[in-house]
């Protein structure tokens, strides 16, 4: 086995090198967040068209060699409708941005659920917010 020593040493060095490289570039991913969404939960609205707004924040990454990403887009849709639409952002690509969009609530129903999600420039996705609005 003595003859294998150089191979083991080489393998160990290679592994240590990889660990060092990986630690250098490993980051702790944190998905973006959505907050302060209006209308607030439980609200009853009188109009079928409703303006929604809120704040999206890319909390970015932490750790050595981290890369911070801004908010790329905020998407929304009416539950039951498969089509996602983009919200209007005041500062796309920034760490924090406001968003607004105008949604047509479901006709003839006593409530509509609107689903909202944010995606940062690194492709990370926020938890989805489901806001039920009474009509």
């Amino acid at each position: 086995m003595k003859s294998l020593r150089p191979l083991f040493i080489a393998a160990a060095i290679a592994s240590l090198g990889f660990v060092a490289y990986a630690q250098e570039t490993t980051v702790v991913d944190t998905p973006p967040t959505l907050s302060d969404v209006t209308p607030v939960a439980g609200t009853k609205v009188s109009q079928r068209t409703q303006v929604f707004s809120g704040t999206a924040a890319a909390t970015g990454t932490s750790g050595s060699g981290s890369v911070n990403h801004g908010i790329d887009r905020v998407l929304w849709r009416i539950q039951g409708d498969g089509k996602w639409r983009k919200a209007l952002l005041s500062a796309r690509g920034e760490q924090t941005t406001t968003f607004t969009f105008k949604a047509k609530l479901r006709k003839g129903e006593d409530h509509t659920r609107v689903i909202i999600r944010a995606i940062d420039e690194g492709g990370r996705e926020s938890d989805w917010i489901v806001r039920k609005i009474r009509q």
Binding site: T26, P39, R92, E125, R134
Partner: protein, 386 residues
């Protein structure tokens, strides 16, 4: 001289190195790569928890329509606990959501404390959150002072802020000024912001100017911004011109976020009732970020029903990045709804557009939405030499 290394020894060493390498890979691989993102379909059930999670027995074999008594409203009013039991046995979905709203409306008027006890007994989750908000809204509408005391008691007992906003929203139906005053007194900062937003939104439907004065008097910046965003969402429904006048005067005193919420929401709301007046207001804004956002909001609002106008407004957005985003949003819809008209208008607009940088930004947008059309247009306008 060491002995020559046999093939077997080489294989063992190779395997060991590979094992260490794989181990290291597994150790350092980021967590988010180990789990798949939430599937879009999974979210559909988030708004209403499964019957098991809601504390009831699942019975998917019986459609809800067959399980509901004919006069469910009477059952809610006379025997709410039986109605509640029926709801818990229903499969999740719109039927259960509507039935829960109906029950909470009735129970909040007959015995709100019993209703609160039932809601608090539900397991945590979306179904409970919705039921709590429904009860809070109806109780706030029917007996606001008592509903307010219930929320205060919950907060003092260490409960979550759920229901604070909905009580203010319900209270605000009849007396938004009183709802706002109550919201200002809440001991929890998050609950205060949530309730302030709901009160401001309700107030904006009847007297936006008074609501704006109150919002601007709020000391806490987070509450103020939140309330202003909510007010901006509702005020244009009742009197967009009054809000525009207020915004023209208040603009210098607002934070960047507050201006963004106000400008975008005003234009989006106003476009619904009077797009010409909204466009005139946008045209009257001085050049800069606010005007860019206003133009983008106008384009975004017009995109569904007036895509040609929307495209014109999108092209006029000053901020290059926002312009590209807005043009892309408008074109995505237009190319889907009426591709012939969209392509004709885009080709005409680009042929007359002297700003090369802008033309190239539009090509980028088209590359993402319709690459074949983009290539043909690029060759026609820019020539083969580009």
């Amino acid at each position: 001289m060491s002995a020559p290394i046999s093939l077997k020894e080489k294989a063992i060493a190779g395997l060991l190195a590979a094992a260490v390498f794989v181990g290291v890979l597994i150790y350092v691989w980021p967590d988010h790569h180990r789990s798949a993102p939430t599937a879009p379909d999974q979210i559909e059930s988030q708004g209403a928890a499964s019957p098991q999670r809601a504390g009831g027995a699942a019975n998917p074999g019986i459609p809800p329509a067959q399980r509901m008594p004919e006069d469910f409203a009477a059952l809610c009013a006379q025997r709410p606990r039986e109605a509640a039991a029926l709801i818990l046995a229903m499969p999740e979905g719109d039927g259960r959501t509507s039935a829960t709203q109906q029950l909470m409306d009735a129970w909040a008027r007959s015995d709100p404390n019993a209703a609160a006890g039932w809601v608090e007994s539900l397991p945590a989750g979306p179904f409970r959150d919705d039921a709590l908000a429904d009860l809070a809204f109806s109780w706030g509408d029917a007996s606001p002072e008592a509903a307010g005391d219930w929320i205060l008691a919950r907060l003092r007992a260490g409960g979550d802020i759920g229901g604070a906003g909905a009580v203010a929203a319900g209270w605000g139906q009849s007396d938004p000024a009183a709802a706002a005053a109550w919201a200002s007194r809440l001991p929890d900062r998050k609950a205060r912001a949530e309730a302030a937003a709901a009160a401001a939104a309700a107030w904006g439907q009847s007297d936006g100017a008074a609501a704006a004065k109150w919002v601007q008097s709020l000391d806490d910046p987070a509450s103020r911004t939140r309330a202003l965003a909510a007010l901006a969402g509702s005020w244009p429904e009742s009197d967009p011109a009054a809000m525009a006048g207020w915004l023209n005067r208040a603009m210098p005193s607002l934070s960047a976020d507050e201006r963004a919420f106000a400008v975008a929401s005003l234009v989006q709301g106003w476009t619904e009732s009077d797009p010409a007046a909204a466009a005139e207001w946008v045209n009257g804004q001085p050049p800069g970020d606010d005007r860019s956002l206003a133009s983008a909001a106008l384009a975004d609002s017009l995109a569904d029903e007036h895509p040609a106008d929307a495209f014109g407004w999108a092209m006029g957005v000053e901020d290059p990045e926002l312009q590209g985003d807005t043009v892309e949003g408008v074109l995505e819809l237009w190319l889907e709804d009426d591709p012939a008209a969209a392509k004709e208008s885009v080709a005409a607009a680009l042929a007359q557009q002297p700003d090369k940088a802008l033309r190239y930004r539009i090509y980028d947008v088209l590359y993402r939405t319709d690459p074949a059309f983009r290539d043909a247009l690029f060759e026609k306008i820019e020539g083969a030499g580009e």
